[in-house]
């Protein structure tokens, strides 16, 4: 009963979204915003083009390296600041303050340091992504009950055994939350980087399409990125819930 009701509600929601889209299309005209139905058929054609494939590959590669860096640096900082109390107390407000700054203003600096190519985008994505990873990892390690460590000492575990059998499993669900948030924030960083002064990638493709008034291309790319991010988040959220239940 509730399941079918929820399904109906979601269905109604989708219908309303499509209706709003159609109305906006009527107001704005076809050149600015294509109608929902033609967009869907265009989507199929667009994703099979070589232009889309090469841009998507560039974004995927930048995102992959940015994510790798964000996770590496974020976990490093998080573990250090979680395990060393003074470093955490000193550093946490600095990281929190940095987290809520408009980091886009630093993009020119990143470009001057790393250049206009893929490394600039990677650095900018990592700059966004490492913060939530670091902050949540630090919180996770701090929240480990001291009795766990005491029992590890009682059992005479080696430091390595303590990390792999006690600390990691205890902190994993929280750390994973950080990785999930880091995922979406890094993606945003890479796309923002591509939207400014970049020749390749999906973010750049959207900007080019906009200036050429190719709204079908633009809207389909935006929707695809939207769906990708939503699906990835759903999968990561599912894993996260499983991890939380296991502990």
């Amino acid at each position: 009963m509730t399941a079918t009701r929820r399904l109906t509600d979601t269905f109604v929601l989708v219908l309303i979204t499509l209706a709003v889209w159609q109305v906006l299309h009527r107001i704005a005209g076809s050149t600015a915003l294509p109608a929902p139905l033609p967009t869907m058929s265009y989507l199929m054609r667009n994703v099979t083009t070589a232009r889309f494939a090469s841009n998507a590959a560039t974004t995927a590669l930048s995102f992959f390296f940015a994510l790798l860096l964000a996770y590496g640096i974020g976990l490093g900082f998080g573990i250090w600041m979680g395990a060393h109390r003074l470093s955490g107390a000193v550093g946490e407000p600095i990281l929190v303050a940095f987290y809520s700054l408009p980091k886009i203003v630093l993009y020119p600096v990143v470009l001057l340091i790393f250049g206009l190519g893929i490394s600039g985008k990677v650095a900018f994505g990592a700059l966004h992504g490492f913060l939530p990873v670091a902050l949540l990892t630090m919180g996770a390690i701090r929240a480990i009950p001291p009795v766990y460590l005491r029992s590890a000492r009682t059992l005479r575990l080696t430091p390595w055994q303590t990390i792999t059998t006690v600390l990691l499993p205890a902190a994993l669900p929280e750390v994973f939350t950080g990785l999930r948030i880091g995922f979406s924030v890094t993606l945003l960083g890479v796309l923002l980087g591509e939207m400014f002064a970049s020749k390749a990638g999906l973010g750049a493709m959207i900007m080019t399409d906009m200036s050429l008034a190719q709204s079908e291309d633009m809207v389909t790319v935006a929707i695809l990125l939207f769906v990708f991010a939503a699906l990835a988040n759903a999968v990561l959220l599912w894993i996260e819930h499983r991890l939380h239940r296991r502990v």
Partner: protein, 252 residues
């Protein structure tokens, strides 16, 4: 200040000092980063000349408008959704994924629809900031203790007095969280929109200075925006702390 506080100041000063030294000694190229002291000097000269005033007014005004609209609309939408549990339930998955998807990629779409004007910037700003306020309002209303409803009935309060004297204060900490997030999201979205494509504004100024290789101007503007954002965030944080203090210690 506590020992940790002093240490934090020392760390920040050391970082800025290290950057200054690295720039002065030539370890960092002058074309890449200019020394922090030069940034401050350039900002001072820029502010004193008054040439920045129009853009400062425009950008900060736009941010203020976006934040005000987001808080107001988010609060109203939050109350409405709280009263309509079925609609709320249908929207719940949407809220849960909202900040996980890059909403900002729709900025060019908005430009295509509304043209290169103030409208797309305000819309993308509100779209980014409003949902945080809606979620916070729902959270706050959920956490109003049920006993307050009984108190209102005992004192025969009307719905408006109940809302103002009981429900609003009870939900206030959560509402304030929403305000804090809306401010920070509004700031980020407006600056990002201006930076990527806009007719004017401080974000656009930075992009122009970058394109002109005008490093002194660019770093002065970056420094200005970072200082404004830090001051605003710090002020909200201080306000939050004093609210928390009053809640804990304010009772007789």
């Amino acid at each position: 200040m506590t020992r940790v506080g002093w240490l934090r100041v020392a760390v920040i000063v050391a970082l800025i000092g290290a950057l200054e030294l690295a720039c002065r000694s030539g370890l960092i190229n002058h074309q890449t980063v200019i020394p922090p002291s030069e940034m401050a000097g350039a900002l001072w000269a820029l502010l004193a000349s008054g040439s920045l005033n129009a853009d400062i007014e425009r950008t900060l005004g736009m941010i203020a408008l976006v934040i005000a609209l987001s808080i107001l609309l988010g609060f109203i939408a939050g109350i409405a959704l709280h009263a309509l549990p079925r609609v709320r339930q249908a929207l719940e998955p949407f809220f849960a994924t909202y900040y996980a998807v890059p909403i900002f990629i729709f900025y060019p779409v908005l430009i295509a629809i509304f043209g290169l004007s103030v409208m797309p910037i305000v819309l993308i700003g509100v779209a980014t900031a409003v949902v945080a306020m809606i979620i916070a309002t729902l959270n706050g209303l959920d956490r109003v203790p049920g006993v307050l409803g009984k108190v209102a009935r005992v004192h025969r309060l009307g719905p408006i007095r109940t809302a103002v004297t009981l429900q609003l204060p009870a939900a206030a900490p959560y509402l304030f969280t929403g305000v804090k997030l809306s401010v920070s999201y509004g700031f980020i979205a407006v600056i990002a929109a201006e930076f990527i494509l806009s007719p004017a504004g401080l974000g656009r100024d930075i992009a122009d200075a970058y394109a002109d290789f005008n490093n002194r101007r660019m770093y002065a503007l970056i420094l200005f925006l970072l200082i404004v954002a830090t001051v605003v965030n710090a002020a909200l944080h201080a306000l939050d702390m004093s609210f928390a203090e009053r809640r804990r210690g304010g009772r007789p």
